[in-house]
């Protein structure tokens, strides 16, 4: 039997959970203790088989009131794709105005998950011409 302790990251409770399983971890072979809610079981199974995280970072914005907009992956993506995704997002530039929910990348790092804007950036007022 295999055993692992982990912290569930799905909510601020941050349950310290004990996970035990035999052979390949599946819904049937996994036993989870210490979770305050049923979502802990799903988290433990995912963490053992294909852990995922949400990437939150920034992209450059041209002509915005701020130089960058914040973005996130619309869903958690595999941990091993985080670094590739981050590099891909870092090459993107948006033109202001930028709105919440706007797509930055359709399919980041081949995960099938989009990267979307999380902070709107209005367009900067045109500077008055000198003359």
């Amino acid at each position: 039997m295999s055993e692992r302790q982990m912290t569930c990251i799905l909510c601020p409770n941050g349950c310290e959970i004990d996970v035990r399983w035999t052979g390949t971890p599946t819904d049937d072979t996994i036993r989870v203790e210490g979770n305050l809610c049923p979502r802990g079981v799903g988290y433990a199974l995912e963490e053992l088989t294909h852990p995922k995280r949400t990437l939150t970072t920034s992209v450059l914005v041209r002509d915005g009131v701020e130089p960058q907009a914040s973005v996130k992956t619309a869903k958690p993506i595999p941990c091993e794709s985080i670094e590739t995704a981050r590099r891909e997002v870092a090459t993107a530039t948006l033109d202001a105005p930028v709105t919440i929910g706007q797509t930055v990348v359709d399919d980041v790092a081949g995960t099938g998950v989009a990267v979307v804007v999380t902070r709107a950036v209005p367009r900067r007022a045109a500077e008055r011409s000198a003359g």
Partner: protein
């Protein structure tokens, strides 16, 4: 030229989660509400908190900070709140007159109720009195977060973080993602002060070591930070001689606590609680000054923005009630709520004897498993809550049903 002077039912100072939620709730309760914020953008600190984890309590979904803030801006806008940005409150008087300054104007605003929602600021190197030189490269974690997420400035390449507060943990991951090397997090206490899930997803995921019972004892470098000395500390929080080691780094982030920003409150005569550094309030969130209410991080430091916003909404309703002719403080028979064994602070610090229901917020002194928190009145248990893990990093709330009112001289919150 005379200044335009006008009156509103409720004036809210600060447009972060607490202030926005308070303004929306007050407006929905029928009050005319003006909200004033010194920044050009509403949402307060949420705008730079681009990580996710917000909103699970308030909206039942996981949001980033800016998205969470936008929900409350929308609520306040829909509720008809007069939102004034780039406007700083320069003065607040005990009779609830605000002097507001904004580019090119200075206005007075009289309010029947004022809600303090100014938030907090970070403790700095100067407050810690860390010896050594004064090179560049030493930032508070929130300043580094603003530079990274709002101003597109790279803060450094090799980073040590002092303090295991949540902002520092979040920045450990953020700077790793930005290509910096985060060499460790150093915490004076024998336990981390941030949320367990942030230890897991921000440090453990990236193999960043956490040094508990350690702190920075010297800063070295002439123009730019070159290295810091780290020492082990004993239980009395004194450095243990001979345990020093040097860490090469060009950047030191300080995530060592937050202080409610109460300068305006003090000048208006608001009494503060020495433990929270926030106002002393009654069950309506009203301070000792009639018609001045307080909520969010200016009242006490919250671990979640969701709780700060909920508190704001509760204060907003009560401020609207007061503006519509609610009871003055002297008309109430106030029962003190005292801090008992195992408890660091309690909010509110007093309640009206006539209160039917009461929400008590508190923090414990130190981590402990399997404890019960109790609210007692004259030897009688009013409410209790079992805590599997009691931790100072987590604010706890207990709802108390006071029945037909309280007959005790005082209430006490205690841990057993």
């Amino acid at each position: 030229m005379s200044e335009p002077k006008r009156h509103t039912d409720v004036a809210v100072i600060g447009g972060g989660p607490a202030g926005l939620a308070a303004a929306a709730a007050a407006a929905n309760a029928g009050a005319e509400v003006v909200l004033v914020d010194r920044n050009p953008r509403l949402g307060g600190i949420l705008n730079q908190c681009i990580h996710d984890g917000f909103g699970l309590h308030a909206f039942g979904e996981v949001l980033t900070g800016p998205e969470f803030g936008e929900r409350y801006v929308a609520r306040a806008t829909e509720a008809g709140v007069d939102l004034r940005v780039s406007t700083m409150v320069a003065e607040l008087s005990a009779d609830r007159e605000l002097v507001c300054t904004s580019p090119g104007s200075r206005t007075r605003l009289a309010a029947s109720s004022v809600i303090l929602a100014m938030g907090c600021r970070e403790r700095t190197r100067g407050m810690l009195r860390i010896p050594g030189t004064r090179p560049s490269g030493v930032y508070t974690a929130g300043t580094a977060q603003w530079l990274t997420n709002m101003a597109n400035v790279r803060v450094g390449r090799r980073v040590l973080i002092l303090g295991s507060g949540d902002i520092g943990l979040i920045m450990a991951r953020r700077l790793t993602w930005e290509g910096a090397e985060v060499v460790g997090v150093v915490e004076l206490l024998p336990y981390p002060s941030g949320l367990p899930r942030n230890i897991s997803q921000c440090l453990d995921d990236y193999g960043i070591p956490l040094y508990l019972s350690h702190s920075v004892t010297c800063i070295h470098g002439v123009d730019r930070l070159e290295r810091v000395t780290v020492s082990r500390f004993d239980d009395d929080r004194r450095p243990i001689p001979g345990t020093e080691f040097d860490v090469a780094c060009d950047t030191l982030l300080l995530s060592v606590g937050l202080i409610p920003e109460n300068e305006l409150s003090r000048r208006a005569g608001v009494l503060l609680d020495p433990t929270t550094s926030g106002a002393q309030v009654d069950d309506r969130y009203m301070t000792n000054v009639d018609g001045i209410f307080s909520c969010g991080n200016v009242l006490h430091i919250h671990d979640l923005a969701d709780w700060a916003a909920e508190e704001g909404a509760r204060a907003g309703v009560r401020a609207a009630e007061y503006a519509a002719g609610g009871a003055r403080r002297e008309a109430l028979d106030l029962v003190p709520i005292e801090v008992g064994p195992g408890i660091r602070y309690v909010l509110p610090q007093a309640t009206a004897r006539s209160a039917k229901r009461l929400l008590v917020s508190f923090r414990v002194v130190e981590p402990a498993d399997h404890r019960t928190a109790e609210v007692v009145a004259g030897g009688r248990d009013l409410a209790s809550l079992s805590l599997r893990h009691a931790h100072p990093a987590t604010m706890v709330q207990i709802e108390v049903d006071c029945g037909d009112g309280l007959d005790a001289e005082r209430l006490e919150v205690r841990l057993r």
